[in-house]
């Protein structure tokens, strides 16, 4: 790709001066940045620093994919947004923020779920992908689409105090292709085995650190300056301030680009990650309104909260606390003679608890509170604390 014809205005030269005067970087690398098109998938905790630094650095075209709207619980770590953006689509809020940061950057926004139908079409126009998504189906989707389209995929992921960074599917100067996500993790964990951040939480500054490392690798991949993380996998543990770098390599049995690839097009990633199988087994539900009716009428029922003790401490609605992890051990505490309403924060963990109790212990009287305690607060007791 030729970047010789890339020109800079006087304002741009002034803006990028601190890049241009680095001998190893210079005007050449700055031209490559301006020439490049980067797609950032997810504009949340990781996407915020990635987008801010890439826009500031002068990447010519940046695409942003996100379907979500800004929520007040985002602001603890998603530094792209302010309180005035709560309730607005993230991609639009991000675009406004980045335009005010650097008007020389072209921004394309996609206010949509990335899925098997639209991924190739969106990704194909970009040179580099930065994956900052928050779930396994999209991780595998982004990986497979990047491999099929031969795009480098700059990967970062976080959980509580720990982050991971690597560069996948990168072809080095000698034409040698590096490993991708499926070389590292051929298949995802079954749902429920690995807690999500919504359950486990994340320290707000961690995505700031890890997302900045991701932005660094994007810039190195574009400019060719330095050694990228291709073939290496970095773990950062914020608690003890330790980072470890592991060697990773391509595997012959990689299903997408090993010796006998079995995946030649995008698949159904929800199904691949076992999510559909779980959805197909519905549990009995109760709405907040029905529960409230029961309470008002003084119906006999038991209310169980399967969240963690620290969540219970923040806010509770007088339920008996049996955290998801101890439901099996404490099944004796759960009544069988009257209806039992099970709730968590939004309804995911309580559904898991009900399935477990039904399958293992044959309960038939369990009802999942739709929308969890958050819905209850919204509809019944708005004065309670939301988190």
């Amino acid at each position: 790709m030729s970047y010789d014809n890339i020109q800079f205005s006087k304002e741009e030269l002034a803006r990028y001066n601190r890049h241009i005067i680095i001998p190893e970087f210079g005007l050449d690398a700055q031209k490559k940045l301006k020439q490049s098109k980067v797609l950032v998938i997810g504009s949340g905790g990781l996407g915020s620093p990635v987008l801010l630094y890439l826009a500031a650095a002068g990447v010519g075209t940046i695409g942003i994919v996100d379907f979500d709207v800004v929520d007040d619980s985002n602001l603890q770590r998603q530094v792209l947004f302010g309180i005035q953006e709560i309730g607005k689509p993230k991609v639009e809020a991000a675009k406004r923020r980045l335009e005010s940061l650097n008007p020389h950057v072209k921004l394309n926004i996609y206010n949509t779920h990335l899925n098997s139908q639209n991924a190739l079409d969106i990704i194909k126009d970009y040179d580099v992908i930065a994956d900052g998504t928050d779930n396994f189906p999209t991780r595998y989707l982004v990986n497979d689409a990047s491999v099929l389209l031969k795009k480098p995929n700059i990967y970062a992921s976080i959980f509580q105090f720990e982050g991971q960074v690597s560069v996948f599917n990168y072809t080095d100067k000698n034409g040698k292709l590096g490993p991708n996500y499926r070389d590292l993790y051929p298949t995802p964990p079954p749902p429920g085995l690995v807690p999500s951040c919504a359950e486990g939480g994340v320290l707000g500054v961690l995505p700031g650190i890890i997302g900045s490392l991701q932005a660094l690798e994007v810039i190195k991949v574009i400019t060719g300056v330095g050694e990228t993380l291709s073939g290496r996998f970095v773990i950062f543990d914020a608690l003890n301030f330790e980072s470890r770098t592991f060697n990773i390599s391509r595997r012959e049995d990689n299903p997408i680009n090993g010796i006998n690839p079995t995946i030649t097009e995008l698949i159904d990633y929800e199904q691949f990650c076992g999510m559909k199988a779980v959805e197909e087994k519905p549990v009995k539900k109760i709405s907040v309104r029905e529960l409230y009716d029961w309470q008002v009428k003084g119906e006999k029922f038991q209310l169980i909260d399967v969240r963690e003790p620290h969540e219970y401490e923040i806010v509770n609605i007088g339920a008996e606390l049996i955290p998801l992890g101890s439901v099996a051990d404490d099944e004796g505490k759960i009544r069988r003679d009257i209806p039992v309403v099970v709730h968590c924060k939004v309804g995911g963990r309580s559904a898991k608890a009900i399935r477990l109790l039904e399958e293992k212990f044959g309960f038939e009287n369990l009802y999942n509170l739709e929308g969890g305690i958050l819905a209850y607060i919204d509809q019944v007791e708005p004065a309670l604390t939301k988190y």
């Binding site: 990781l46 619980s73 976080i158 959980f159 105090f161 720990e162 999500s196």
Partner: protein
Amino acid sequence: MATVIIPTPLRKFTNNTARLETKASNIHETVEELTLNFPDLKKHLLDDKGRIRSFINIFVGNDDIRNLQQENTTVQDGTIISIIPAIAGGISIKK
């Protein structure tokens, strides 16, 4: 003694211990010892057939045991064994 580093998501199964010492001489023994001492870890590390799960990577020093001698990879005094599960990152309360 070798040291096993337990990743954040699995620490709740090891009484919040991040580092464990082991006298095991290879990875197979290390995993056996871990799951014996912390039975709740077992389903997270091993599948129904007792094989290390595909979303769990074990590194000895800087290298993936899949590029060494798999579970027969030997560990020595001072070896650092890292267990690295897949994490999806970010936050989504809609899930």
